[in-house]
Symmetry: C2
Subunit: 270 residues, 2 copies
């Protein structure tokens, strides 16, 4: 199955638009995992196994692994998801962006080494920096469009001739770059009006939406602005609010409760 | 010494504006290195030891290491440069770009794990995605401005109100983001007029210039457009033309000859 097919199937099967972000920070792990060599793997594995029937995707953030020489644990985690929870797509949040010959190397890293189903990519270097990822026809390519951080407006909100830069990115991707149907966009939950604008510009293109929970985005406004006609089209990411819902050995159960609550809160507005 | 001090010292000591890019592709290695587990390290070490007195910096491209699970060889190479060729700064070409809490992890990866002296960063997510790197006062942060690939114009050439997006990035970095003096910019050699414009907008800010050699940029036009009043201000990158100048066991000598020729060609126009 392609990424897009897996995503559509997971939306249905788990009745969920929730994406759980895996941003493992060992300083926040429960005491019984502290100091273990495989703490990152064990922590994330518990989160995954506790929430896999409640999500439409998992999104490991590679920086948290790379900062700690834990690429092997990331490989093992993605293997675990594919083996134990088949059909749940894995988005490698790497925000890569480079010229073609180097982008090919990043595609090998994401799709062959880590076996991710999709990768996040930065559009600043233009179409030919994105195309190498599309050479993998089963994979998804999720382009930054409008990001949820305060500085996101510095460039993305510039007027580029009657529209803002993020609107131009949305239009370029939807009308020119997405020739193979593999593309999606990142649009932050902190700006519901802009989610609505991107939805208007891109038809049914899937949107990855970070920024609910710790970053303050409103679930109802996000869902109403971004859902497609059939009530899907969104991967609404939550990381810290789920990963660190519990602080002791029962953190898996706490994460499950938080994930279910978030999924259900999303579903009330679909 | 800070990155900026090391760079200035290397410009003088080696009388060179040449940056050698380390983009190791095992398929292009000489036969005697094929199949060795440490082939990437040995290949790059020979390049480094053959050219270190002819360059102002080395620039390993992390994608080539990550695609082959060779982060350990990248760590060893940067250790080798610092131990054997002290004073030559190492730029980790990673083009990272993410929100603050994740950017902190990427900064740990680049500066603590790999011990790079500078990192390349993508500006699309704005100022707060750049600031975490500046918390390391000895390090350099080199922002993408105008890139040398064909698609570079897709966004960077958009008019954002009387100037192009890459000009806005240059002005933002020079006048607002570079409060600590740690910033530099990437400007491709394929556009000399744009190098001249960025130089005009940024005073003496160092410019990392890829795109000579295999990508077709003209050395004379690049140097004339980008040099500062004292004949420095540039890190002119060459990768493939130096790495693969030779195809047999004498590839180090061939790389040295190519590096010397490129350095001298640059110096004729300073």
């Amino acid at each position: 199955m392609t990424f897009m097919q897996s995503l559509a199937a997971a939306w249905q099967k788990n009745d969920s638009l929730l994406c759980v972000g895996l941003d493992p920070d060992p300083a926040k792990f429960p005491a019984h995992l502290q100091g273990r060599d495989d703490a990152i793997f064990e922590f994330c594995k518990t989160i995954i196994d506790s929430t896999a029937d409640l999500v439409c995707s998992f999104k490991p953030q590679i920086a948290y692994f790379a900062a700690r020489r834990a690429e092997d644990q990331l490989e093992a985690l993605i293997d675990h998801i594919h083996a134990t929870h088949p059909g749940i797509p894995v988005i490698l949040d790497a925000k890569r962006g480079d010229i073609g010959s180097t982008a090919e190397q990043y595609a090998v890293e994401a799709f062959e080494r880590f076996k991710a189903d999709a990768i996040t990519v930065n559009p600043y270097m233009g179409r030919d920096s994105v195309e190498p990822y599309l050479a993998w026809p089963d994979k998804g390519v999720i382009l930054l469009c409008r990001t949820s951080n305060p500085g996101g407006s510095d460039l993305q909100f510039l007027d580029v001739g009657g529209e803002k830069l993020f609107e131009r990115v949305a239009r370029l991707v939807a009308s020119e770059w997405n020739t193979t149907g593999q593309c999606a966009l990142v649009v932050g939950a902190t700006f519901p009006a802009e989610i609505a604008r991107v939805r208007q510009l891109t038809g049914d293109l899937p949107l990855l939406v970070p920024g609910i929970g710790a970053q303050g985005g409103d679930i109802e406004a996000t869902v109403r602005a971004g859902k497609t006609a059939n009530g899907t089209g969104l991967m609404i990411n939550s990381s810290r609010a789920i990963l660190y819902a519990g602080k002791d050995e029962a953190f898996g159960a706490a994460a499950r409760a938080a994930a279910r609550e978030t999924r259900d809160a999303i579903n009330r507005h679909r």
